[in-house]
């Protein structure tokens, strides 16, 4: 009898648990069904809203970063729909039509990005998608956007060496982040660099480019170490750094490896004055997570810092904090997620005002050459290679976790998608109108830096 009871209760438990799992799956899929309007305010979207996909993970390992990108996107769309902030002179919505967001959550699973991109395009019929963070997820959705000829706005600094007709790249290309930081480190810290990174495509490519740049100017790479994504145990790498005695460490660690590394670096007794860390992915957000005392004196190269002194940035920071909490910080990736939403909206406005229909071809052509007064300064989509003119900045982290900007270009730098240290003279020029033919061109010459 007791055996029987036990059996049934176990069966019941299984039923319940499978029900729960099923419900969970439903809930995850349910997200795809258009979640209209931004951040809870169920405002009336009026007649004929414009459907736009928002593709960021809010669960799983990369959610920590992508949630903040989603927040920045929500803020931008809220401002566009209500005609506030940078959109104040354009009235509510885009030529009277509001944006209806279709928010999906790919759960930090690269395959799910691919499936959800398909759903956004095929079933939800969105006209463009804002999203992705890691290069792995971008590589996963790229075939979808190219096959279905749809448009992705991608807000992240990345390793470059890509130039698709279906992606608008609004984060830094290698020449906007690496090209200035390597000579800066060489000049101010010394010739010997120790390179570290997480073990996947972006850090390895980025370090490969940085190595070429450092060796070109006579520097030397005394160590090159990678840690599996998500590693938080850095004793070994830190000991290797101690043994190699470099002048600086160049870090491309990402995610929760960043706080762990900086904390253990200081804990192991290495001072920022002796061996400073020059990093790309370490931003205000990660510094808040590690505690500013661990980052003080180290450096980051990025296009935007929360301390950038422009009226647009002051408004952006204030409005972001008002919407998401006073303890939140803004960083470069969030700023890119924010500004690219306005690129998209401006392009759509242009299309609608010219009386055209919103589709991939019209939005793409209209996005080319768009300019915007972003928090980091004036930026522009390069009409040839669909990357973005961005400011190049280097900052030293202060005791309060904010950046002291020690280097800044006067205006935005023209993006060069292909690393010139690796592929000399290779450029990318999409034809006008874009017929999606191969845009790669070899000039064989040194490219002069150009500014906006």
């Amino acid at each position: 009898m007791s055996r029987f009871v036990r059996k049934t209760s176990r069966r019941k438990f299984l039923q319940y648990s499978s029900l729960t799992v099923g419900a969970g799956v439903l809930a995850a899929c349910g997200n795809t069904s258009s979640k209209s309007s931004s951040s809870g305010s169920t405002a009336d979207l009026g007649e004929n809203p414009i459907k736009v996909g928002v593709l960021y993970s809010t669960t799983g390992s990369i959610a920590i970063v992508e949630k903040s990108l989603q927040d920045a996107t929500f803020l931008a769309i809220d401002q566009i729909n209500n005609g506030t902030g940078p959109w104040a002179n354009n009235g509510a919505g885009i030529a009277g039509r509001k944006i209806q967001m279709v928010v999906v959550n790919p759960n930090s699973d690269w395959d799910l990005y691919n499936q959800m991109a398909k759903r956004l395009i095929d079933e939800d019929k969105v006209v463009a998608v804002l999203g992705c963070y890691t290069s792995a997820s971008r590589k996963s959705v790229l075939p979808v956007f190219e096959e279905k000829d749809s448009l992705l706005y991608y807000p992240v600094y990345y390793e470059g060496n890509e130039c698709s007709s279906n992606v608008i790249y609004t984060g830094a290309a290698p020449n906007q982040q690496i090209t200035d930081s390597v000579p800066y480190a060489y000049k101010n810290f010394g010739p010997k660099g120790f390179f570290i990174g997480s073990d996947y495509i972006y850090p390895k490519e980025s370090n490969r480019i940085a190595r070429a740049e450092l060796e070109n100017i006579g520097g030397q790479v005394v160590g090159d170490e990678y840690a599996a994504l998500g590693t938080t145990e850095f004793i070994t790498i830190i000991n290797k750094i101690k043994a190699a005695k470099p002048d600086f460490v160049l870090s491309n660690l990402v995610g929760d490896s960043i706080p762990a590394f900086y904390r253990q670096y200081k804990d192991a007794g290495i001072k920022a004055e002796d061996i400073p860390i020059m990093a790309y992915p370490t931003t205000e957000e990660e510094i808040q997570a590690m505690g500013p005392e661990f980052s003080t004196g180290h450096y980051t190269s990025f296009n935007y810092f929360q301390t950038v002194d422009t009226p647009e940035n002051k408004a952006f920071v204030d409005e972001f904090k008002a919407m998401f909490g006073q303890n939140r910080v803004t960083n470069g990736v969030m700023e890119a997620a924010y500004l690219q939403t306005f690129f998209m909206a401006q392009a759509m406005k242009k299309v609608l005002e010219e009386g055209d229909e919103l589709n991939t071809a019209t939005i793409r052509e209209a996005t080319r050459g768009q300019e915007f007064n972003a928090p980091q300064g004036r930026v522009k989509v390069d009409p040839d290679n669909y990357h973005t003119y961005l400011h190049s900045r280097i900052a030293r982290w202060k005791e309060d976790g904010q950046a002291e900007i020690v280097f800044s270009t006067d205006s935005a730098v023209k993006p060069i998608p292909w690393s010139q240290a690796l592929y000399k003279g290779r450029i990318c020029v999409h034809p006008t109108p874009d017929d999606r033919s191969n845009p790669t061109k070899e000039t064989g010459k040194d490219l002069e830096p150009e500014f906006l």
């Binding site: 043994a243 929760d256 804990d267």
Partner: protein, 324 residues
Amino acid sequence: MFHCISFSTGVSLYFLAQEEAEVTTGIDGLAILNQLLNGFGIVGVLLLTGLGLAITFGVMRIINLAHGEFIMLGAYVTFVMQSTFQMDLLLTIPFAFIVTAAIGAVVEFIIIRRLYGNPLETLLATWGLGIVLQGIVKLLFTAQLKYVKAPAYLSGSLVLLSDSSGAARVAISYYRLFIVLVGLALLGITMFLFYGTSWGRQIRAVTQNRDMSKCLGVNTQLIDMGTFAYGCGLAGIAGTVISPLKSVAPPMGQDYLVDAWMVVVTGGVDRLVGILAGSFLIGESNALIAFLLNDPLARVIVLTAVIVLIRYRPEGLFTVQKRV
């Protein structure tokens, strides 16, 4: 425990002696010595994270895939105590233990109790539980990384050897030493509880023969709940002690789950001292191989070695012969 201490100092003394000879010829020897010493930092973390699992799996035979989440819960308890009461990390340890143990007791009562003797179903149930716990924490604290502070008096390094210019050559941070000591202390306490008290005797009796223990008047349900809660509480302490080395986030426990399992499987589950041996072997070999080659490769090699070990010695290195 005593054996281990004498063993570890034995190793360092041996290297110290060797280093005297090498100091003029090679720098490598010093670097490797330093790495081996710092390997104890890894050993300490493994010991801490493996100990709770040694109780839930080793003693109770529950395949607890939510172990990492209990580590995470401990870290969050510390975060809450620190951010609301500005409490010293060391003072939060008892709270982390009590809260995670209480949650463990509830989990045992609601889920695990119904699944004794069905390891596969506990595996599924605890896996799901892990997802649920992560989700709840994410709802309560958002997915943002949080941080806890290490006590100021544990900063800095213990320098054993420095070169002529005064730069430390062989040094280990005080916080890493602290982790090792906490790990050893918890192991000692657990061994005392299991082998020196009547509660421990009852636990061992229940694991060996549940029905017989019941006949003899042991309240097996209470014993089960207490033991599971204790294992979870240990995971909570691990979370507290590890959290200053990294940041606190909902998925943080996942990093430790695989390592904790490797330790338990390598050491064998019948004797608690196996945990010590397991963490020592895995931690130090990881440290050494990672130093000579690189980190990802070291993981591959160590994991492969553990698989080979399971193939030829599925019961682990330290097991007692049993009459079946």
